[in-house]
């Protein structure tokens, strides 16, 4: 009798486990895609300056809208001039950082290997000068970006585009190339 009960319990457990796997594997057929988390490395650069950083975001079920947060920094110290009157300028090495939130639209990301994207990224930027207590300009800036994405494998993607990036650093070119490489990090991505 005990053997029969144990066999029944074991069989019932295995059946439940198997069903669970099947439901998990067919989740997207039954419920559609889940929202997916993704991580990416990115850079906005031109011949004068660069920003390098990371973004983490959430892609919606339809895979056409991303909401993301980002942190970027200039990977070197850039010399900047500050006018102090009477033809006297001070040259400071400036570090610069960016912390922000953004939203992105991806065209046909779910179905196509190649498509277009457009995003708006609001960042708070602040800087640090070397050797002085003085602070460079800081504040919120809006960065529009657009370009093309290309899927790499099942869950990675590459983006190449244009960005209008006002770093608040004096007399810097604001037009930049945008490069990004990211990947979905959750299942059912």
């Amino acid at each position: 009798m005990r053997l029969i009960i144990n066999t029944f319990i074991g069989f019932w457990f295995l059946t439940a486990a198997a069903q669970e796997v099947v439901v998990e594997d067919r989740y997207d057929e039954v419920f559609g895609l889940k929202p997916a988390l993704y991580l990416g490395l990115r850079s906005d650069l031109n011949m004068e300056d660069a920003a390098l950083g990371m973004e983490a975001g959430l892609m919606n079920k339809a895979r056409n809208i991303n909401l993301f947060t980002n942190f970027d920094a200039r990977p070197f110290r850039k010399k900047t001039l500050e006018y102090r009157g009477n033809n006297v300028f001070y040259q400071y090495p400036e570090e610069r950082y960016y912390l922000g939130l953004g939203a992105e639209y991806l065209q046909r990301f779910e179905s196509a290997r190649l498509g277009a994207f457009a995003q708006l990224n609001g960042v708070y930027t602040w800087g640090v000068y070397g050797g002085t207590e003085r602070k460079p300009p800081n504040g919120w800036v809006a960065i529009p970006r657009f370009g093309l994405f290309k899927k790499v494998g099942d869950s990675a993607f590459l983006k190449l585009g244009y960005s209008y990036f006002d770093t608040r650093t004096n007399k810097l070119e604001k037009h930049r190339f945008f490069l990004s490489f990211g990947g979905l990090i959750t299942r059912n991505g």
Binding site: V88, F89, Q91, Y92, G130, G131, T132
Partner: protein, 125 residues
């Protein structure tokens, strides 16, 4: 049987050597400050000033006319140093500023040592 014994002896010897090497210098530690600046036709000689702390503190360590770059100073580590060089560029006067902390590093024995520091006061292009 001989091989595990050999490994054990090797580790014991290595451990004892490691302990002998871990006699740390209590400090103070001195590192090399390297200062680079521009010497050109318009500025064959420049006034270089080294400060302890940021320039607003006006805690001057050295102030000298320099004709060759770079120059080196031995300074106590774990302190912030800044420097200025004054240039002429046409009718403009440009005061180049830079500063960083000379940090203490830590080796395998967890002993402190001074990290060298480099300040770049070259004129921007």
């Amino acid at each position: 049987m001989r091989k595990p014994l050999f490994v054990l002896v090797f580790f014991l010897v290595a451990l004892s050597i490691h302990c002998d090497e871990c006699a740390c210098d209590p400090g103070p530690f001195f590192g090399e400050l390297k200062v680079r600046f521009t010497i050109n036709d318009e500025n064959p000689e420049v006034l270089l000033t080294i400060f302890e702390g940021k320039i607003e503190k006006q805690d001057t360590l050295f102030s000298e006319w320099a004709t060759e770059s770079p120059v080196y100073y031995d300074l106590e580590a774990d302190k912030y140093y800044s420097a200025t060089v004054t240039y002429t560029k046409g009718i403009r006067q440009i005061v180049a500023v830079d500063g960083k902390k000379m940090t203490l590093g830590s080796d395998d024995c967890d002993c402190d040592y001074a990290e060298n520091l480099s300040l770049n006061l070259k004129l921007a292009d």
